[in-house]
């Protein structure tokens, strides 16, 4: 099924009334959408955990959406919140390579860009963005990230700390 805004919003509205068939279809579509959304922005080994955590959050917080509002910007806000939380909890990713396959999203490119994780990361100063991308997403060690960026190890740590703090306050920013 196409994970487009109108379909997802309709399924979500039905789910809020307790329609299990619609809910199963919604969760299935959201799962696929979230995999695309998070791909390349989380260590592959963590992807499944993060997608599942986000589905649980969607379930627990499903009353916080109402049918007068668009669905994907709501889902993306929940996904960003879980993502930042995940990065904060993560010390060292086990896996270094990234998924090569790019999972496409069916949404309008303009909306997808506005609600993307890249857009959120891009709001950070370049030094902080780079430190977080290398250590928290690609899984480099502090020493490796220090070499790659030319930042001292202390600065890499400071940049990660400050950057994550800032991200947590910018979840809903476009």
């Amino acid at each position: 099924m196409r994970a487009d805004e109108a379909t997802l919003a309709r399924l979500m509205a039905l789910s809020q009334t307790g329609d299990r068939q619609a809910y199963a279809a919604l969760l299935e579509a959201c799962q696929r959408w979230l995999r695309g959304y998070y791909s390349r922005r989380i260590a592959p080994a963590s992807l499944d955990d993060l997608v599942q955590e986000t589905l649980i959050a969607l379930h627990n917080k499903r009353a916080s959406w109402d049918s007068s509002r668009p669905f994907l910007p709501w889902l993306a806000a929940i996904a960003r919140y879980r993502w930042v939380d995940h990065l904060r909890r993560l010390y060292r990713a086990d896996e270094h390579e990234l998924h090569e396959e790019l999972i496409g999203t069916d949404d309008e490119p303009a909306i997808a860009a506005r609600i993307s994780l890249d857009r959120l990361l891009g709001l950070l100063p370049p030094g902080q963005e780079r430190a977080i991308a290398l250590v928290k997403i690609e899984g480099l060690s502090i020493a490796e990230a220090s070499q790659a960026t030319g930042q001292s190890e202390a600065l890499v740590k400071v940049n990660i700390h400050r950057g994550l703090k800032k991200l947590a306050h910018m979840i809903e920013k476009e």
Binding site: D48, K61, A63, R69, R80, Y81
Partner: protein, 216 residues
């Protein structure tokens, strides 16, 4: 393969646990907050009585302006809390700041006038009277405070610490609005310092206690 299976199992479990929910509506949140604020105001008036000049059909401009500013701040902060409870990329959470900046004129003016007068700001009587407004205004905030915290708990605020702070500002501003219906003092030094202190104290309380209740 196992990952896919565990995702399928999770989805099956979530679907099995689906219950109908009532979506959080902005209007419902506003109505509930206004009802809590109105009830708090009614309790203040019932327990302590209305200002004597109002009973005599007179009004004081300083009191009207200050009370109106607190009410404006309370409404703006409530709107922000309700917006924060329903996450959406592109939402603006900054509206309350302008109202806060305008209401901040009161403590600033109060301090300037107080320092300029150079006496009685720390006098025992004004401290006692101020402390009373702080305590009772704070108490009059608690119902709105609990209401907003419960609302945020049902919602999904993505910045729990800020949401707690703004909920405290809203509750404190409604609380001192309610107590202003009784407090007969029209002095800018008293209003600016002690009445604003209620907002500050509740903001601190909200920031310290609400985030742990609403984090998800």
């Amino acid at each position: 393969m196992t990952m896919q299976r565990s995702s399928d199992a999770l989805i099956a479990e979530l679907v099995a646990g689906l219950e109908p929910v009532k979506p959080l509506r902005f209007g419902a949140g506003m109505a509930a907050t206004l009802a809590a604020a109105a009830l708090s105001s009614a309790v203040v008036v019932a327990l302590f009585g209305l200002r004597p000049d109002w009973l005599e059909g007179r009004v004081n401009p300083m009191h009207l302006v200050a009370t109106g500013l607190y009410l404006g701040l309370a409404l703006a902060a409530t709107v922000t809390v309700l917006v924060m409870s329903r996450p959406q990329i592109g939402s603006d959470h900054s509206g309350w700041r302008w109202a806060a900046a305008m209401a901040a004129l009161l403590p600033v003016a109060g301090l300037i006038v107080g320092v300029n007068r150079g006496h009685d700001m720390l006098a025992a009587e004004s401290m006692r009277h101020g402390g009373e407004c702080l305590a009772l205004g704070g108490s009059a905030s608690l119902l709105v405070f609990a209401m907003l915290a419960a609302w945020l708990r049902r919602g999904a605020p993505t910045a729990p610490d800020r949401a707690g702070l703004v909920a405290g500002v809203a509750a404190g501003a409604f609380g001192i609005f309610a107590f202003s219906l009784h407090c007969p003092d029209n002095d800018i030094v008293h209003i600016g310092i002690w009445h604003s202190m209620v907002v500050l104290a509740m903001a601190g309380l909200g920031r310290a206690t609400v985030p742990r209740l609403i984090r998800w």
